[in-house]
């Protein structure tokens, strides 16, 4: 989530005409490794078709930090165009200013500074998908969802408390054992477990919990919960009450609108049934 600083501009004499506020925004990150126009389009088309609702009009951040070959301005323009053809909405490009600044300017998109952070791969179609490592190193692009905050955490060290103003508190555990957290997860906070995750407390709106395994919430899920984030389609989410902003298992999603359309008794579990997410009593 974007750690925008919460600003308020106030007029003191006349009534204010506007107010400037910060907000959190989750975007899809397209991490580019190589670019060739035709392969890119076909691979992206596959991805988008696998989870059409998720991608429909999604804001997209194009991340050039993992790029292994050169890219020309024309390529970048083409790539942005192809995203739009598939009804994605590129909003920004992340990469070094020196290397890409001039190029990005031509696209009219925002340039975001580089991060040290490693975004979590979030496969959108993990059953049939090749992981980037499994392919031959030609044209590869992984699509991740990520938080665009600048305070991401390297995968292999515990998260330091975020220091930047407006930055989120991020708790990550790379232990292969269940992580148990006995407190409420609040707006702006994020918890990641490399195994199962148990939260004793609510997960509030604006908070995000992620696990490579199952997620158990002994409380109400009002925020986002993503289980099986490395592709484990057998992972499940359990919660005492479901009022989530988003639930996901191994890359397949239900946004809040779709969740609220369904009727289910509390408490619930969420699991994958093929490509669908099922919500039911347990």
């Amino acid at each position: 989530m974007v750690g925008f600083i919460f600003l308020e501009i106030k007029a003191t004499v006349t009534d204010p005409l506007f107010q400037i506020k910060g907000t959190s925004l989750t975007v899809v990150v397209l991490e580019l490794y190589n670019y060739s126009p035709s392969d890119f389009l076909s691979q992206l088309t596959d991805k988008v078709q696998a989870a059409a609702h998720f991608f429909e009009q999604s804001p997209v951040l194009i991340n050039l930090e993992k790029l292994v070959s050169d890219i020309q301005a024309a390529d970048l323009l083409n790539l942005v165009d192809q995203c739009r053809q598939l009804r994605l909405q590129p909003v920004a490009i992340r990469g070094s200013h020196d290397q890409f600044g001039a190029m990005v300017e031509q696209t009219g998109l925002a340039l975001l500074p580089e991060t040290r952070s490693k975004d979590r791969p979030l496969e959108t179609n993990p059953v049939t998908d090749k992981t980037p490592e499994a392919t031959d190193g030609a044209d590869k692009s992984a699509i991740d969802t990520t938080n665009t905050g600048s305070n991401g955490t390297p995968d292999n060290e515990p998260a330091p408390a975020a220091v930047e103003a407006g930055a989120e508190e991020i708790t990550t555990s790379q232990d292969q054992t269940t992580q148990i957290i006995s407190r409420q997860i609040r707006s702006g906070q994020q918890v990641y477990s490399a195994a199962d995750l148990i939260i004793i407390g609510n997960v509030n709106e604006g908070a995000e919990v992620l696990a490579q395994g199952n997620i158990h919430i002994y409380g109400t899920l009002r925020g986002r919960a993503l289980a099986g984030v490395q592709g484990n389609t057998k992972a499940r989410i359990f919660c005492q009450q479901l009022s989530a902003e988003l639930i996901a298992i191994a890359g397949n999603f239900l946004p809040s609108e779709a969740i609220h359309q369904q009727n289910y008794p509390d408490p619930v579990q969420v699991y994958r049934n093929g490509e669908n997410l099922e919500i039911s009593a347990y």
Binding site: I5, E8, A161, E205
Partner: protein, 271 residues
Amino acid sequence: MAKIIVVTSGKGGVGKTTTSAAIGTGLAQRGNKTVIIDFDVGLRNLDLIMGCERRVVYDFVNVLQGEASLTQALIKDKRTDNLFILPASQTRDKDALTQEGVQKTLDELAQTFEYIICDSPAGIEKGAQMALYFADQAIIVTNPEVSSVRDSDRILGILQSKSLRAETGGEPVQEHLLLTRYNPTRVAAGEMLSVEDVEDILAIPLLGVIPESESVLKASNQGTPVILDEDAEAGQAYDDAVERLLGNEKPHRFLDVKKTSFFKRLLGGKT
């Protein structure tokens, strides 16, 4: 030991300054030597609500930058004994607030005051973080609506990760929920969240519920903290909140639509 209490909310305009003035006054009325610090550098509001704007000579930033001593900058309240105000400057920007400077000022104040109330600016950025950093207790001012509750949740997360107590692994900051601008009629009509809704989401102890009341605006226009208006429900509710802050039990009042709640209130209110 002086107690440092931050009054904070994330969202703007929810009643932090009104609350700082009321709670500070209430504590002083009970014989506790109290100072209220305006951390809203650049927007100066507290002195207006306290009615001492014409007596401001030096401000918090002057003290931080060594241009004035605390004794020079502190304004003694004219109505309430034991009460002092440290106003914010209207002109300087928030960069004047440094952690070392704030710490030094708080340490100095802690030698003479029992309660130090920090009136936080809105937002979650530097000014707000500075106001809460040294707090022992926090009064989370929340209005019964979704965006305010969410911002309060956010500020609670920051208290729990970025306060001095959190960083040094000390006792956590003691949290109090103060629901303000509560309008039982609108709650009953489903236009506002109820006390229970807010408590359910934020899950921190309830210090008080201040009803939405004309008297608050009237009081701040007159430069009198509303707690001094004994006829106003908002004033009475703040008075109850001060009692609870001091550890005394008080039933919550003004939670229900008046007509239907007559018997409940006769029996001492609910919860």
